[in-house]
């Protein structure tokens, strides 16, 4: 068969309808209040879990309904329309990072203890890699895990850990040897109740409802049974999972861009200047048309990367380089795009664009995280250049 295989089937449309209803009932009506207080109830995780929206990409064995990555994409797109990106980021950090790491790299015991309750939404997770001295450059992390019999002793600190200021557990990357080098990074599942673990919630200009944490490990003891994967497998596993994270970010960014454009067009219809609605000015019509083309282009690229990802998950012969290349391109293209569209949305609002009572400023602030988080734009360019034999040798 020639042509493109449809990404979404009939059951995905039903899933989308359910997701849309859930977001419209449980999230959107509260988003303004949550943004105002910079907080939301932890119970949201249980609601999402019991409605089944943490389960699409996990096997039934652990309480999921998949794996079905197209369904997961549907959930991400719909969640993004809920207009509370800090909240969506917390939910994402829990499900796309912590839980997914457990699913991919954990043994049955870890899955039973952490993955199952995570899918239920009864146990909150986060992923802790970034440190004050190491962001994009993962290999420079310094948090240290030293073996002591059947335990490991962790010391160090982490920053910008989404969902990390209130999660029940954290998947922590630590160095298991003094030697530098990729092969000395290992992942651990650390309970937040462990003695010696402290944390604070960070204040950001964007994602203001998110529970982004700064974490401190002071002789925190972790049993060896909570080691996630082999000693030294951490770096490789982080790199593998980056692809999915970046793809999810791309889907969310496209949805945010679509919402920004809708918001901008609506304002341009309602607001008049020089005796006519702003939408009647051709420069705005053409600007909106250009943005619509860019959004559709970014969406096509993201969907193409998603197709490739699903093909790889289904065991098709997909080169890892091609997957990394397309995913990095989708991430680079969509994150800046979302912010650009949101910026035009602020622009069309004029003075109202600066007012906290309009959503434009929030879309704009929240979209700005995209080109930084999950691997910066420059890191994406490095990765893409590398696949073409370019860049520093």
């Amino acid at each position: 068969m020639s042509g493109l295989e449809p990404l979404f089937r009939e059951e995905h449309e039903a899933y989308r309808e359910a997701a849309r209803r859930f977001v419209a009932n449980e999230i959107t009506p509260h988003s303004e209040a949550w943004e105002e207080t910079r907080d939301y109830p932890r119970g949201l995780f249980t609601e999402v879990g019991s409605a089944g929206f943490f389960g699409a990409k996990f096997s039934e064995r652990w309480g999921g309904t998949g794996p079905d990555y197209a369904a997961e994409a549907v959930w991400i797109e719909e969640l993004s329309k809920g207009m509370t990106y800090g909240t969506a980021s917390d939910l994402g950090a829990h499900s796309q990072l912590a839980a997914l790491y457990l699913d991919r790299f954990g043994n049955d015991d870890l899955k039973e203890r952490y993955l199952r309750p995570s899918i239920e939404g009864n146990l909150l997770g986060a992923l802790a890699v970034t440190e004050p001295g190491a962001g994009s450059d993962v290999n420079s992390i310094r948090t240290r895990a030293v073996r002591d019999g059947e335990q490991w002793i962790l010391n160090g600190s982490k920053v910008f850990i989404t969902n990390g200021s209130w999660s029940d557990y954290l998947v922590v990357a630590a160095r298991t040897s003094e030697d530098p080098g990729h092969e000395n990074i290992t992942l651990f599942v650390v309970e937040a109740a462990s003695p010696g673990f402290e944390r604070t919630r960070m204040k950001l200009i964007a994602w203001q409802t998110s529970h982004t944490g700064e974490l401190f490990f002071d002789d925190v003891r972790v049993p060896d049974e909570n080691r996630l994967g082999d000693v030294g497998s951490g770096f490789r596993n982080i790199m593998v999972n980056f692809q999915w994270e970046r793809l999810m970010m791309s889907l969310a960014a496209v949805a945010l861009a679509e919402l920004s454009l809708e918001t901008a067009i609506q304002y341009a219809r309602d607001r008049s200047a020089f005796g006519r609605p702003i939408i009647k000015f051709q420069v705005w019509q053409h600007r909106f048309a250009d943005l619509a083309v860019r959004i559709r282009t970014g969406k096509a690229l993201t969907y193409r990367a998603l197709r490739l990802h699903i093909a790889a998950e289904n065991g098709s012969n997909v080169s890892r380089e091609q997957l990394v290349r397309l995913t990095s391109m989708a991430k680079l293209f969509t994150q800046r795009l979302a912010w650009q569209v949101a910026d035009e949305c602020v622009q069309v609002h004029g003075g109202a664009g600066a007012l906290m009572e309009y959503p434009a400023q929030r879309l704009w602030r929240d979209a700005r995280v995209g080109p930084i988080g999950g691997g910066t734009d420059d890191i994406m360019r490095n990765v893409i250049a590398g696949t073409m034999g370019l860049g520093a040798s």
Binding site: M1, S2, G3, L4, E5, L7, I265, A268, R269, I279, Q282, W284, Q285, H286, F288, A289, D290, A292, V293, R294, R296, T297, G298, A300, L301, Y303, R304, R307, L308, I310, A311, N314, S316, V318, R325, L326, M329, L332, F333, D378, M380, R381, N382, I384, A385, M388, G389, L390, G391, A392, S393
Partner: protein, 384 residues
């Protein structure tokens, strides 16, 4: 989940088209551009090889393939020359599809079948000296006289115009009615061998010099009754239909050209040394090319989604306008960044990059300018 839209049969076709392109077209491009001409033989060879009717039904003299087969042709030619891709696309995506769509069996026999064999060369006639994007304002007029039509007027910027055997042309046959801004336009197959047809001027362009672009003049040209293509007065609708396929075609070969230009820039960046290393090792150069590669893959994704809709018979005006606009922007950006990467070598006349850089500029003007695509999109988005 299947990733590529192409099948093994398409891959074999690609190999065959690619061999033809690499042996019978690519080696001569620099000469043709310098001479400002290319041999008509190209059409005949393409016809013999079966490349002109890939997606046409066998009953109309085509190969009976799907649209992806046509995509293969346009991509393979587009990777070496936008000019040759354009002239072939005028033959396969512009002048002939309206004959299949709107023509009578006799018109298909008389014009379409020989055109798909490469024995007749076609052109598409819309633009006039005083009207381009604004199709409703055309003034070339055909008046019924007994069993004939008398045609008067002129057409401008007509690709293949100086060598065409027939021109699929829109002309005015009635008045503009109030409230019906597109009324009174009909489509004709104009036989250029008839008396009264003349080539006023072969236009000298900045790019795509090898492809002939003409100003044509029709002076009391008498056309037979069956020169009318489709329904009298429905010409505007018919030409809008034609433009969809035209914009698809130029989008497909525009992306293929952008990809080839980028590959040339990458190859150069990996070879050329400056300050003790290849220029591709400089982060600034590598990031610029990474950006361009991202743009190419992104727009490619959009264009393939459009091709898929087109292949399924969906009349996707919005997606087609998006693709046309996106590809015009892409190809100009990529060509310019490639030129910058090659430095002085990019400015040398006769080089691949300099030729395509000049040629790409037409992509944002022909087939409906960027501005026209934006206006179409604004209308579809309900914000006009």
């Amino acid at each position: 989940m299947k990733f590529s839209p192409f099948t093994e049969e398409h891959d074999l076709l690609r190999k065959a088209v690619g061999e033809w392109v690499d042996t019978e077209i690519a080696p001569y491009l620099a000469d043709w551009e310098e001479q400002g001409d290319f041999p008509d033989e190209i059409f005949k060879r393409a016809g013999e090889l079966g490349f002109l009717g890939l997606a046409f039904p066998q009953s109309a003299g085509g190969q009976g393939g799907d649209y992806w087969a046509q995509v293969v042709l346009l991509e393979e030619v587009g990777r070496v020359s936008q000019a040759i891709a354009m002239v072939l696309s005028v033959q396969t995506d512009m002048s002939t599809p309206p004959i299949l769509e709107f023509g009578t069996p006799a018109q298909i026999e008389r014009w379409l079948k020989p055109a798909l064999r490469g024995e007749l060369i076609g052109a598409i006639g819309i633009t006039e000296p005083d009207t381009g994007s604004d199709v409703a304002s055309i003034r070339t007029r055909a008046v019924k006289d007994g069993e004939e039509w008398i045609l008067n007027g002129s057409k401008m910027y007509i690709t293949n115009g100086a060598r065409a055997d027939f021109i699929t042309m829109v002309v005015r046959t009635g008045e503009l009615e109030d409230g019906h801004p597109w009324s009174g336009i009909s489509m004709f197959i104009v036989d250029t061998s008839l008396p009264g047809f003349s080539i006023s001027k072969r236009l000298d362009k900045a790019g795509m010099k090898m492809s002939d672009t003409a100003l044509l003049y029709m002076d009391d040209m008498r056309l037979p009754e069956d020169a009318l293509l489709g329904v009298e007065g429905e010409g505007f609708k018919q030409i809008m239909w034609e433009l969809q396929g035209e914009r698809m075609g130029v989008s497909v070969f525009g992306v293929a050209g952008s990809r080839a230009i980028l590959e040339e820039a990458i190859r150069y960046a990996n070879e050329r040394e400056a300050f003790g290393q290849t220029i591709g090792q400089f982060q600034a150069v590598s990031h610029r090319l990474a950006e361009m590669a991202t743009e190419v893959e992104a727009v490619q994704s959009l264009v393939y989604e459009c091709c898929d809709l087109w292949d399924q018979g969906v009349y996707a005006t919005e997606e087609v306008a998006m693709a046309k606009l996106a590809v015009g922007q892409l190809s100009n950006k990529v060509a310019d960044e490639a030129l910058q990467t090659l430095g002085g070598a990019g400015l040398v006349e006769g080089s691949f990059i300099s030729r395509e850089w000049l040629g790409m500029r037409i992509g944002r003007i022909g087939g409906g300018s960027d501005e026209v695509q934006r206006q179409i999109l604004a209308r579809i988005m309900g914000i006009e």
